[in-house]
Amino acid sequence: MTLSSAGLERYIDAASPVHALDARVKLLLTCATVLALGLLPPGAWVGVLAIAALIWWAVLQARVGLGTILRRAFVALPFALAAVTLVFTKPGAPLFELPLGGLRLTATDAGLVAFASVVVKSWLSVQAALLLTATTHFTDLLHALRALRLPAVLVAILAFAYRYLFVMVDEAQRMLRARECRSAELPGRPGGRNLGWRAAVVGQMVGTLFLRSYERSERIYVAMLSRGFSGELRALRSRPLSTTEQGLLLVLGALLAAIALLANVL
């Protein structure tokens, strides 16, 4: 995973009804969508299409660019290679053969359906998750998690981690750049010594980063104490959901449940 500090931010700013929606609703609906997709049996294309339509309708409502979301969703695709085996291992009517080394692989119809299902469901799930990230500030997401009963300690750790993520990533990238600048080669001699040495250097870089992080966290703690932190993590009480939001949650939730149920029963 290569990230530049600029590329870390996945939030897309826009004024849309989706952006304005309470983070709890968005989080719960995203999870419901992914769950519904997971519950669809392989080959339930009507159900897949129905859920896709819901997701894409929401993306359009959010004004974050359907193309952007579709493009970013291809991040899950490389993992799809692992699912390719399904094409050749699911029992079913044989479709075509593929010679591979000493083996002759036979693709089956059920195998192709299973593979296609996994890939499409995965791709759609990522889109739902991307929509959540694109329309919700991480801090709002944390408030939502807290309101949904995630322990305060965990929420606090996530908050600090998020706060210092970019700082630490920057530092790691600067270390990498410094090493790159001194990774030279003389003509006629391959550089880099040996694997063990290179790994050891990285280990030392990791150790250095650890110490800097630890000492930074001590300074943070002192700063917190100076600002009156007494050991209790407080947050504003979250407002109750409006009737529209509750309605939306219920309607869309019921819709997703119905799709999943019907796909399995029919």
């Binding site: 600029a6 600048c181 001194r182 990774s183 030279a184 080669e185 001699r189 250097v201 030392q204 250095t208």
Partner: protein, 258 residues
């Protein structure tokens, strides 16, 4: 009025007639660079630096000084324009060799130092190049001696002062025996004593240098040639003394008086 001085005044005496002309250690040919987000940082920079020549790079923040420096050892590479080190253009094939000849020192020494001891940091460069261990030790000793940090081998970079870290950072590239040094704001954050010793160090080092700085006094003391970068272009390239005497120009480019 903005006058672009296109012809750099010679800072080094021209070679005697009949002698072979050595290629400049550094040459920029119409170098342009834009950031990934589209902002144009460098607009067609052209200059030449002779072996052993020292120049100060000045200009307001955001003018492109650090960006320019990062081109000198191939960290940044632009499809528009060329950077040549000793006559060799920097590209994927040559960049590793280039890094043996161009030593980059960043503004924040913590960005430079990533090893557990001073010795390890200074030794990293030559070790990576495949220099044998006895020679590495000799180089480390020489480099630390040059920067006045002999005896600090076992110390942790973490636990020494900023001025000392800056000097160790310079040593980490000196041990690679470079021909050109690129330094980004070396005197920033130093107390007067550390600053004095840095100035003395820069004067004694024989390498060619491109040093970005806000410290006009240091520019006057160490660098016979000054290049002013303003809004991505070279606004002045010539002798330091006359430029620093011209207050109107200094103010125009947002520079301090020495």
């Amino acid at each position: 009025m903005l006058e672009l001085d296109a012809s750099p005044a010679p800072a080094v005496a021209p070679p005697p007639p009949g002698a072979a002309v050595a290629p400049p250690i550094l040459e920029l040919r119409n170098l342009c660079y834009s950031y990934p987000d589209g902002t144009v940082a460098l607009r067609g920079l052209t200059l030449q630096l002779a072996p052993g020549e020292k120049l100060a790079l000045v200009g307001p923040n955001g003018a492109g000084k650090s960006t320019l420096l990062l081109h000198l050892n191939g960290v940044l590479r632009s499809p528009n324009g060329a950077v040549l080190i000793d006559g060799v253009p920097i590209d994927d094939a040559t960049v590793r060799r280039v890094r043996a000849r161009v030593g980059m020192v960043f503004q924040d020494p913590d960005d430079q130092l990533f090893s557990p001891s001073v010795f390890d940091d200074v030794a990293f460069g030559p070790l990576h190049m495949g220099v044998d261990e006895a020679e590495v030790r000799a180089r480390v000793a020489r480099a630390l001696d040059q920067v006045g940090m002999a005896g600090f081998e076992r110390r942790m970079p973490h636990h020494i002062s900023l001025g000392q870290r800056k000097r160790v950072a310079i040593a980490t590239v000196l041990s690679m025996d470079p021909e050109l040094l690129a330094l980004d704001e070396p005197s920033a954050g130093l107390d007067p004593r550390a600053r004095r010793s840095l100035v003395g160090l820069l004067r004694t080092l024989p390498q060619a240098m491109v040093v970005s700085t806000h410290d006009m006094r240091m520019a006057a003391e160490v660098f016979p040639r000054i290049v002013v970068l303003y809004e991505g272009q070279i606004a002045y390239d010539g002798p330091t003394a006359p430029f620093l005497a011209d207050e109107a120009q200094l103010e125009h480019y947002g520079l301090e008086r020495p």
